[in-house]
Amino acid sequence: MYARLTSALALACLISGASLAAGSGITDPQIAHIAYTAGVIDIEAAKQALKISKDKDVIAFANDMLRDHEAVNKQALDLVKKLNVKPEDNDTSRALTKAATQEREKLAKLSGTDFDKAYVANEVAYHKQVNGALETLLIPSAKNAELKDLLETGLKLFQGHQQHAEHVAAMMK
């Protein structure tokens, strides 16, 4: 539990640290990359849960995450293509991916209810972090109106997922 909290804090610091480093200079191609990466991370987490979990509610939740994030990332790809924007890798994307890989490695060692609880707790924490990044960094920095609009929808989606995850977590207690 302590380790998970530490890694969550580290991730929050990484996001805000990267945002400080980038200042308001974060570009739309970078924002698009971060948003897309955030979706990919949750898709990977869901795939891991589908492999390991036996819990009906956890499996249903993971399927919801997989379906939503794949649909939204497809929408994001269509938009960047239309806008002729090439998503650009950056420190925030790399930090997110690194933290997520570490989290998956930790979860891979667990099974049964230990896994289910850790996965759902991480889903709550992860969506909370992404919501924070969307609200304070990505949405205010986005210059293109359509990208901003997609991010705002993304924020509502992630907030919905956070509540859904909190609900699943409450049912497991």
């Binding site: 919801d64 379906r67 929408q75 509502k156 907030q159 997922h161 859904h164």
Partner: protein, 104 residues
């Protein structure tokens, strides 16, 4: 003559089967960018609620002890209202999506 009579009988039968004229309305709700619009609707028993999902992800219109309608992405789904009451409904997949249906 015979055919005219039977046609008349048929019409009468149809009228009997149809019963008194009931004006069931269809009330449309748009679901776009994770928002039910309008957020509050009222209906009478027998009306049909039609949700049109303009999002790329599936939603539901779910009321505890009421109904659970899945609205696939880009599709519509309907519900025929069968009893009076106030139904606060939400989306099971995105519980931050909330709306209200009043049935008289």
């Amino acid at each position: 003559m015979i055919s005219k009579l039977s046609l008349g009988a048929l019409c009468g039968l149809v009228l009997i089967l149809a019963g008194p004229p009931v004006r069931a309305e269809t009330i449309r709700v748009t679901v776009e960018k994770l928002v039910f619009s309008p957020a509050e609707i009222s209906a009478v028993v027998g009306d049909v609620i039609e949700w049109q999902n303009k999002d790329v992800m599936a939603h539901t219109a779910t009321a505890k002890d009421g109904f659970d309608v899945v609205i696939p992405p880009g599709k519509t789904a309907t519900l025929t209202v069968t009893r009076a009451g106030t139904f606060d409904y939400y989306c099971r997949f995105h519980p931050n999506m909330k709306a209200r249906l009043q049935v008289r």
